[in-house]
């Protein structure tokens, strides 16, 4: 048996060290990891994937810790018939744009989960990706799915307004707010609130929690509470205190209600398809760019870049030239003509 087949087999058997190795190989985009994941791929598509996102300091890690604890505390027949569901956590923290290093500190809040063989926590650095996840997060989730975890909680980097990639990679997206985070205009801006299937006001024991709930409710009412264009799901606004666990059982119930709703409405399949499309698209883009770079004569890329810096060439004309091997002025002219045509 080849290395990757052996590794895939070990992961299937539930060997945790093999799983950890596989996740590293995937993260480092090593061919052996991709090959093992290919072997395991038929086993994926079973886990319930929940995305947890929100601004830095709203309590994402603490809430993920409590969610996992609550899920592990009893049997949820929808997830597994005879035992509490196995829970995997993928926690993403930002990579420094200067050094390439990262401090992954989400485990600090997850110490309660130590010693539970039904839980697996993996920290990831975003490694230059900007959408709130790392580039390989969805493949890491696939591997955990194949390893038999019934629930996968993906915690994004502390998100601002536009880090919305998680919605394309999760069945349910949980957006965490905390009191005092902004006024009602913040709440009606596009972005992170739009992707919420569930909204949680964490730190609900602090002053201002009621107000935060009111502002969020008003924002959702303004938007018609459509929950990402899915009219029949009313996005609930829940309150929780992650440090004590208050409100968390209600939150788990709401998650499971959303899961049932997805399955009953056919959205479960649709979202699965969206995830697959996003993964395919990203991979295709990377491979095409890689192949293109490899096919270029030495120095051509740098030469074109230098012309752009000297303002002799626009980036649009440069891409045209690079892909079609036609001289840039022609490409630029045609580009302008096409734009003028479109305007008419």
């Amino acid at each position: 048996m080849s290395d990757h087949a052996e590794l895939a087999q070990a992961v299937r058997e539930g060997q945790r060290l093999a799983l950890a190795r596989l996740l590293s190989l995937i993260e480092n985009e090593q061919p052996q990891g991709e090959a093992a994941l290919t072997e395991l791929y038929p086993l994926t598509g079973r886990a319930y994937i929940v995305g947890v996102t929100g601004a830095p300091g709203t309590g994402k890690s603490s809430l993920v810790n409590e969610l996992a604890k609550t899920l592990r505390a009893k049997i949820y027949p929808g997830l597994h018939a005879s035992r509490p569901p196995a829970v995997a956590i993928v926690a993403v923290d930002p990579t420094s744009p200067f050094s390439g290093g990262a401090i992954l500190g989400d485990r600090i809040r997850m110490r309660d989960l130590a010693g539970d063989a039904g839980v697996f926590v993996r920290s990831m650095a975003s490694r230059g990706s900007l959408g709130g996840l790392a580039h390989t997060t969805s493949s890491v989730a696939d591997a955990l799915d194949a390893a038999g975890f019934e629930v996968i909680l993906i915690e994004t980097v502390g998100a601002g307004q536009a880090e919305v990639d998680i919605a394309r990679h999760a069945h349910t997206t949980l957006v965490i707010e905390s009191p005092g985070m902004g006024d009602d205009i913040q709440a009606i801006k596009a972005g992170i609130l739009e992707i919420a299937d569930l909204l949680v006001v964490n730190k609900a024991d602090l002053p201002g929690a009621e107000n935060a709930v009111r502002v969020l409710r008003a924002a959702l009412d303004l938007a018609g509470n459509t929950g990402g264009a899915e009219a029949r799901w009313q996005v609930p606004i829940l309150q929780a205190v992650a440090t004590t666990g208050q409100g968390v059982p209600t939150l788990v119930e709401a998650l499971l209600r959303h899961r049932e709703y997805l399955q009953a409405s056919g959205l479960w399949r649709e979202r699965g398809q969206q995830c697959a499309a996003a993964a395919l698209e990203a991979r295709l883009r990377d491979r095409l760019a890689e192949r293109w770079h490899a096919a270029q004569p030495d120095g051509r890329y740098r030469e074109i870049l230098a012309r752009i810096v000297r303002r002799e060439l626009s980036p649009a004309a440069a891409v045209q030239e690079m892909l079609e091997d036609e001289p840039a002025p022609e490409a630029a002219k045609r580009h302008l003509a096409a734009r003028a045509g479109a305007r008419r």
Binding site: D3, A20, S24, S99, G101, I103, L104, A114, R127
Partner: protein, 139 residues
């Protein structure tokens, strides 16, 4: 193929509550381009070994100021070996009396850094040791 990023677990076993040193080291290794998993205070050897496994780290750094290193370090070494992670490199930082240095080295600790050790030296040493392993990755 990209060179695998060095992953380091910085942990504080035992009961002392002083984690400034651990944080300074975590920050220095981050600035040296490594991914540093920091687990916080009061970790048992079992918690540390479990985190090292799940995170598949190349290096574990233990910060110990309590004087309990001769109880804690052997236990961490034993657990790492038992779970098939004997190849993980171990560093210790903190207040360690001179007479214990050879004992820790004999257990397989790569290096011990006391007060005043420069963060550059530490980062360079961690990289050197980790890259010896990073050249032959995989199970």
């Amino acid at each position: 193929m990209i060179q695998p990023t060095i992953r380091v677990l910085i942990a504080k076993p035992g009961l002392d509550g002083h984690d400034r040193g651990a944080k300074v080291i975590a920050r220095a290794l981050r600035d040296a381009g490594m991914e540093v998993i920091y687990t916080g205070l009061r970790q048992t050897p079992e918690m540390i070994a479990e985190a090292a496994l799940q995170e598949d780290v190349h290096v574990v750094g233990l910060s110990i100021l309590s004087g309990a290193h001769m109880a804690l370090v052997p236990r961490v070494v034993e657990l790492l070996r038992a779970q098939g992670q004997g190849q993980v490199h171990l560093f210790v930082g903190g207040i360690i009396p001179d007479e214990d240095l050879p004992k820790l080295k004999a257990l397989g600790v790569e290096d011990i850094f006391g007060p005043g050790a420069s963060t550059q030296t530490i980062a360079a040493r961690v990289r050197q040791v980790a890259e010896g392993r990073a050249q032959s990755p995989g199970p």
